[in-house]
Point group: C2
Chain length 122, copies 2
């Protein structure tokens, strides 16, 4: 018998002690599920080649767009279409799951000092 | 200003009044996010060309494999690898989110009377 185990999102989040550094917890085909804690402001960026899924697990997330914003609470999902400039913002800490193809950087096409190390598993 | 709105998973689940009929709530590239309520036993099946992601939102899910089983509670995720035979089971009602490429049928390669209509949005 094989010992199959689920991935417990809260347990994995308990291993994360920093902000803005996504950790990979699972892969489906060439897509990755990433958990991240964020607080404060990020930078404007976009992902030219892919949509990006945000699922809020705890807290209140705002994603700014050039022509508006979306507000997400726990249990809410939003998919940022490819090529659309966006800027996440969290007044208090937010716990998030991101889903996107393997290899996508947190700063997208923008790069710079806020770029996190990619493909780090927990 | 554009009126951006998140997808509230609990609100969407409140629109589902049957079992074993996945409803699409969002698309990321060519992947779909589907919500479904299940209770009881399903059929053995597999998906030859794709992994399949299960995220339990409420209840206790068991997924049987030919050589074991995995038990998932709310907040837990499991990815069934492509080609692996599996059979979901829920003693009491389970609320699930499935993530898989557009066009994947609930009965995979198996077909038959338990095959749900595909690509139904709520």
């Amino acid at each position: 018998m094989t010992d199959y185990r689920p991935i417990n999102l809260a347990a994995k989040l308990g291993l994360i002690h920093d902000h803005w550094s996504p950790r990979v917890v699972a892969e489906m085909n060439d897509y990755q599920f990433k958990l991240v804690k964020i607080q404060g402001d990020f930078i404007w960026h976009s992902h030219a080649d892919t949509d990006e899924t945000f699922i809020v697990l705890d807290g209140q997330l705002r994603i700014d767009f050039r022509d508006g914003a979306v507000h997400l609470s726990a249990g809410e999902l939003f998919i940022v279409p490819k090529g659309v400039e966006h800027k996440p913002y969290a007044e208090s800490e937010v716990q998030l799951m991101l889903i996107e193809p393997r290899g996508v950087l947190n700063t997208g096409e923008e790069g710079g000092e806020r770029t996190a190390q990619n493909d780090v598993w927990i």
